[in-house]
């Protein structure tokens, strides 16, 4: 196994890892604000691609504008879904909300099939595609976009989280929703904001990868699972952990292809995840929430 | 006869020694109190006594068996029951069902027998239900039997938890700040219940900082301060012990008084 091969596998891991990280961020944000695992996060990823293709192919907008419209439209779907379904559940019981998002994911993927048909649809590569060679290994320009978008999103989220009033309010919610409400934070607004951010991040991931893999109404669940696994691997509730979880999961899959076999890459990644959970039940970077009696 | 022997129990959290080599005995049939200002290590000691936490050093012998090596549910079956500072009731169950759950340790119906509804399980269930109602009356919750725990006022919830603990037929009952948040009427009801329980032959250890209740009901008192035992004895001696007063009222006041 030469170094260029190893580097090639690492780049593949970085690319997939960035996708999983973006989706995992969406899971972690919603979890932090509501304690809920949003099963519709995979659908936000799908819609990011689908709505961008709709804007580009059907509305005929130029690619950059189409991408913007696609992501904005998905964010809007996130708001509408939160207002019409999540917020209507008055007691905010996390269990019921999770099942509502399961219903939501079915609804969104089925609506996508009705509106955009059953077949996969494509987007052209950003900036004309092409490759860059990195010490012999090849890096697709689109991959640079994917990793770039992830990095910018994480930086933007970090800034929002740590440097803005909204971010402080969201972190307060994450630690203790009741306490946050007492000090006057509109926790319901925080929930909506978390869904909007989750939808935007999921959409960015979908948008960035569609030029390479195309998108279809049913691509949501498979990437959704990977995002959830990454969020758990890193440790729920902590944005940095979600990104670390995503990248580690991406690398795990790549290395298991390289050294073991592509047939079992998913199984191997899951076995490692189960191992991590057994040793650290709260994920790699999660705080151990010991139950105080 | 000494029912419980606490021998040199020490518990450290990082640099802080929450409990420092505490030892004391509890004789059968008495009410023993453990008091001390906030942060004296009372709750930590309590969790060690009930194996909800492991000590770094020392042992807790109950009838010769070291509780610190047993798993919590086996300690209950050995006859040591406990309550919690923030009550851990089963909210959706009625008061009676909560106490019935407490009887888990002393009943035998297994999964298979229950599924097949064997006759002896029905009888066991009926007897346990009667016992539960008796215990509810003992603590004064007779007429609340079918009310869900979630709907009970705070004071009654504490009494319900005591009734549930009694359902495990303990020889030793450990109470973690039972008087916390109670008004005077509720506190005297609690005192009444404690006397009735002791008269049943159950030894009681109560961790508390409500001085009124402690002075009234306890036969002996152990005083903790910053994790160390600074005094032990009957209430009237403890009341006048300068060390105890200093611990409670802080250093400077005492000095200008003398």
């Amino acid at each position: 196994m030469g170094t260029t091969e190893l580097l090639q596998f690492a780049l593949a891991g970085l690319k997939n890892g960035s996708i999983y990280a973006l989706v995992a961020l969406g899971f972690t944000l919603v979890y932090a604000a509501t304690g809920v695992i949003n099963f519709a996060q995979g659908e936000f990823y799908m819609l990011g691609g689908m709505l961008s293709v709709w804007a580009y192919a059907d509305l005929g907008l130029p690619l950059p504008l189409a991408a913007l419209v696609g992501v904005a439209a998905t964010a809007l779907v996130g708001i509408v879904f939160e207002l019409t379904a999540i917020r209507q559940r008055k007691d905010g019981d996390p269990l019921a909300l999770i099942i509502i998002t399961v219903g939501g994911s079915m609804l969104l993927s089925s609506l996508a099939r009705h509106l955009f048909g059953p077949n996969e649809r494509a987007l052209p590569l950003f900036s004309g595609g092409g490759n860059v060679s990195v010490a012999g290994a090849v890096l697709e320009v689109q991959t640079i976009w994917i990793v770039g978008i992830t990095a910018v999103s994480v930086a933007g989220l970090w800034y929002l989280y740590n440097r803005t009033a909204l971010g402080r309010a969201m972190r307060a919610c994450a630690v203790n929703r009741d306490a946050a409400r007492i000090v006057g934070i509109d926790t319901r607004l925080m929930v909506t904001v978390s869904f909007v951010l989750a939808a935007t991040l999921g959409a960015l991931a979908g948008l960035a990868v569609t030029p390479l893999t195309q998108t279809a109404f049913d691509v949501g669940p498979s990437v959704g699972i990977k995002g959830f696994a990454a969020a758990i691997l890193g440790g729920l509730g902590n944005p940095i952990a979600a990104v670390v979880g995503g990248l580690v999961l991406g690398m795990l899959e790549s290395l298991s292809i390289a050294f073991i076999s592509s047939t079992y890459k998913d199984a191997i990644a899951l076995i490692v995840l189960l191992g991590v959970l057994f040793v650290r039940p709260q994920g790699l970077l999660g705080r151990s929430g010991r139950e105080k009696v | 006869m000494t029912l419980l022997q606490v021998r040199g129990v020490t518990r450290r959290f990082g640099g802080l020694t929450a409990v420092d080599a505490v030892s004391f005995d509890v004789h059968e049939g008495m009410i023993k109190a453990v008091i001390g200002p906030n942060g004296a290590g009372k709750s930590t000691l309590f969790n060690v006594l009930t194996a909800f936490d492991r000590p770094d050093e020392g042992s807790v012998l109950f009838d010769g068996a070291d509780l610190t090596t047993m798993r919590p549910h086996l300690i209950v079956r050995a006859g040591v029951a406990r309550t919690f500072q923030n009550t851990q009731l089963f909210e959706e169950m009625s008061a009676e069902e909560n106490v019935l759950a407490g009887a888990h340790a002393v009943t035998r119906t297994g999964f298979l027998a229950a599924a097949l509804r064997m006759p002896w399980t029905v009888r066991e269930e009926r007897d346990a239900a009667e016992e539960a109602r008796r215990l509810l009356r003992l603590v004064g919750l007779g007429e609340w039997a079918s009310t869900p725990a979630a709907d009970l006022p705070h004071g009654l919830r504490r009494l319900l938890e005591i009734a549930r603990a009694l359902a495990t037929r303990p020889r030793l009952l450990l109470l973690d700040e039972p008087a916390a948040g109670l008004n005077s009427a509720e506190t005297s009801a609690l005192a009444e219940a404690l006397y009735r329980i002791r008269d049943l032959g159950v030894t009681i250890v109560v961790v508390e900082h409500d001085m009124g209740l402690v002075m009234e009901v306890s036969d002996e008192i152990v005083v903790l301060d910053r994790g160390r035992k600074i005094a032990e004895g009957p209430p009237r001696i403890i009341q006048k012990d300068p060390g105890v007063i200093a611990a409670y009222l802080g250093e400077e006041d005492v000095s200008d008084e003398f």
Binding site: A12, G117, P124, V138, K265, D266 | -
Partner: protein
């Protein structure tokens, strides 16, 4: 409070009622009006929705034409569509419903191999012929007298491709297949005959539906130094593989071969320039000239392609072709039967089909071969300037 209590009571009772009113039996037996009823179980929703839609369009188009030309011995043909949602249990239920309640004389379906296999027990017990539109070899390998298959099974397609590869001088072959039924079937068919072609499989990689990147697998293939890559994938992943292959250095010298599952316009759109030079085997429908201009097959195919494109604005793909063949094989057999016939008569007559010219090829069924297609019904293509072009040395 009272209002919601009554409302919830109604909701609950309504649920219990709907769950069991069925026992009143909605089994309206198929009224013996004159129409001949054929059942069609297709995947109109779920992951295989991309196959079910063109199949349904082809059948609807053709049934209209058949009825316009007088149907079968004066009786109209009616096709009843059921969606199996790419789920075996629903395919079974749909088949038993069509046989029991609708009294169909034959079944077309299903779109997927798994669903087709699930239905065969119903077809057999109902004494009804089943014409599957799925390409899995197992459908006709595990022989069942009631089950027929219109697509070219992988056991016919793979040797055809390997023949082309050997003709192009390939000896060391790398395989990359999806982990689903289609991928495994292609892989098995390859492993079964590879020695006969004096070739050797030097890499055997796999991927899952929904994977976003296959550069790992392709890198491993590159280090095995094959002469060519055989890709067995049906979904969107095929385009991703072509693009990853195009971007990896030293890979462009490695030609990529594929099967009928890749004969989709979505592949050309999705892969774009990366599809240039991609070679695959499929029916003649992709480039009608492959039928041989002036032959009956050519007329049949161009007629169908013309009508389909006029009606739906898009050219029919191979799945539409398989559906066309299924409905016409049944109608052709029915026209050879007397006025009154049972479903088992139809099976027997279908089995006697010989030299029937259709879109997928020229069908000849025998008591032991319920597919009847051969390599003659396949053409070899290469993607040139973004579209299929006839290629292949051996032809």
């Amino acid at each position: 409070m009272r209002r919601t209590r009554i409302a919830s009571a109604i909701v609950v009772l309504a649920m219990i009622a709907t769950a069991f009113t069925g026992c009143a039996g909605s089994n309206g037996a198929s009224q013996p009006d004159d129409a001949i009823r054929i059942g069609a179980v297709l995947s109109l929703t779920g992951p295989y929705a991309g196959l079910g839609e063109p199949e349904r369009r082809a059948i609807e188009l053709e049934v209209e034409r058949i009825n316009a030309e007088g149907g079968v011995n004066g009786r109209e043909v009616e096709v009843l569509f059921e969606d199996d949602g790419t789920d075996e249990a629903r395919a079974v239920a749909a088949a038993s419903r069509l046989i029991e309640q609708e009294g169909v004389v034959a079944l077309i379906g299903a779109s997927g191999t798994g669903q087709s296999m699930a239905m065969r027990q119903e077809a057999e017990r109902g004494g009804v012929a089943q014409v599957s539109l799925a390409g899995g070899s197992v459908i006709t390998d595990q022989f069942n007298p009631w089950v027929f298959q219109t697509p070219w099974p992988n056991r016919v397609v793979v040797p055809f491709i390997l023949g082309e590869m050997r003709a192009a001088g390939v000896e060391r072959l790398a395989l990359i297949a999806d982990s689903g039924g289609y991928g495994k079937d292609g892989r098995d068919a390859t492993m079964a005959v590879i020695d006969r072609f004096g070739m050797e499989v030097v890499a055997d990689e796999q991927f899952n539906r929904g994977d976003t990147d296959m550069t790992g697998q392709l890198t491993k293939i590159r280090s095995a130094e094959p002469d060519a890559i055989l890709m067995w994938a049906a979904g969107a992943e095929a385009a991703t593989i072509l693009k990853n292959h195009d971007s990896l250095t030293g890979m462009d010298v490695l030609p990529v071969y594929g099967g009928p599952g890749n004969a989709r316009v979505e592949l050309l759109e999705g892969a774009g320039s990366a599809a240039e030079g991609f070679q695959l085997a499929a029916g003649h429908i992709l480039v009608p000239e492959a039928y041989g201009p002036g032959t009956e097959a050519y007329e049949v195919a161009t007629g169908f392609i013309g009508r389909f494109t006029d009606r739906y604005g898009v050219a029919p793909d191979i799945f539409a072709g398989h559906a066309y063949d299924a409905i016409h094989l049944l109608v052709d057999a029915m026209r050879r039967l007397p006025e009154e016939f049972t479903s088992s008569d139809l099976r027997d007559e279908l089995e006697r089909t010989e030299g029937f010219v259709a879109v997928g090829g020229t069908f000849t069924f025998t008591p032991t071969d319920h597919n009847g297609l051969s390599e003659d019904d396949l053409s070899f293509y290469r993607v040139v300037d973004g579209t299929w072009a006839l290629a292949g040395e051996a032809r």
